[in-house]
Subunit: 256 residues, 2 copies
């Protein structure tokens, strides 16, 4: 059995999985569309779902290229990540793990048997930056190359992959009464995605001039720092814990 | 007589001056609002118009701080520019001149007796970057300081200001039949606003991999390179000619 793959150019992580909610004439477009996609590519968690689903995203945050997944033990996704890390010279490639149950996962890639979002930044929304576009193109091509080699029976050696597991989100500071945002990401933190943030490091610079610092007890890795689409979600940045995950050698037959 | 000033936080250059078109119940919001603002701050080209109107903008292009005007001989605007250039240590400040008749000018600042847009970048739309926010804040404060000093009778020495006069806009390369964009701004040009572009320099990198070069006969200064809001206007970048303009010493009395 070979690995089928589907690439969906889906711009926003707005797919919500509500398989049980009936669709009516007045349902929001996003809900209708999510059910259409689930029928086309899934159904999620079924035998009919596509083998691998990759959802392409871009962000205003300086993330480089990230594979965002709901599993830290999906050898297919981890091997693809390792392949991209090995082959992409000028773009950092990282594996991000959202540790939530699959039935709570809201993004399109969760519909496939294996899947991830390929997220790349920094790029303003509504803009194509040539270097970012080329890196995404290279990432997609390398993923497809890996699948072709895997389907041809190539053995991929095991090894280690750094996994960034999301621990929590941090909101912008807000006025306690009006909830209006009162600070921007601190210049020392802006664009420093995946650079270790230590307790006491500057986190926000208030419009009043005051610096607010990271008050956590544990040094963690910030990412999605100042992503434009997350203001409305109340997320100024996310924090992750890094650890190394060992992956086995894989060959097509071993996964049957 | 002192100089009155009004600062309008107006995000998009969407004000169109159609003083003669009657407003009805079905008029687009932008047209209704432009007439409200014209009544409030103008009427444009009348004795009742405010003395100075500054309209604050931000852009995805790496412009630094620009004063964008419709005049290359407005001593108020030129002196404010000189003041900002002298006082702002870490932000480049430039004077941009759109050489079109005032009655064709579509932006809010054209309603005042004197006026300019204060444009700053790079910043993605929908995002606040702390360094950009602080630079805008400093620019606005310095402008108001200048006005206060001017109103107090301070003499401002004359001198020279570099003026960038817009010569033409360049659209993205497009498919001749579908008009779909076929290239992004070349990595060698991206973010190099106000760096002289010579004939033969790379301008676009096609999605096919081909490099397209600047075919003009004259070296010019590119600006608004890859501004997100200008894709729909068919503008990938603008080109300007630079020259030095001499400005006289000014003091409040001399302008009565």
């Amino acid at each position: 059995e070979s690995c089928q793959y589907t690439i969906i150019f889906h711009c926003m992580a707005a797919l919500s999985e509500r398989g049980s909610a009936p669709v009516s004439e007045t349902s929001p477009y996003e809900m209708v569309r999510s059910q259409e996609l689930n029928a086309l590519l899934g159904p999620k968690a079924s035998m009919q779902a596509v083998d691998l689903l990759c959802d392409l995203h871009n962000t205003t945050a300086n993330t480089g290229l990230c594979l965002i997944t709901y599993s830290d033990r999906d050898w297919i996704c981890l091997h693809i990540c390792k392949h991209l890390q090995r082959e992409m010279a000028s773009t950092p490639v990282r594996y991000v793990h959202f540790d939530i149950p699959l039935n709570e996962a809201y993004s399109l890639d969760s519909v496939g048997k294996h899947g991830f979002a390929m997220e790349i930044g920094p790029q303003p929304h509504g803009v194509v930056r040539s270097v970012i576009f080329s890196a995404m193109q290279e990432g997609v091509q390398l993923m497809m190359d890996w699948i072709c080699q895997f389907n041809s029976g190539t053995l991929f050696e095991g090894g280690w992959v750094d996994v960034y597991t999301m621990v929590k989100n941090i909101d912008y500071p807000r006025d306690s009464e009006t909830h209006v945002i009162t600070a921007a990401v601190h210049p020392d933190l802006q664009d420093r995605d995946f650079c270790l943030l230590h307790p006491g490091d500057p986190m926000f610079l208030c419009f009043s001039g005051e610096t607010l610092r990271y008050r956590g007890k544990e040094a963690l890795y910030p990412f999605f720092i100042n992503e434009g689409a997350y203001y409305e979600k109340g997320v100024a940045l996310s924090l992750a814990r890094k650890r190394r995950v060992q992956i086995p050698s894989v060959r097509s037959e071993t996964l049957r």
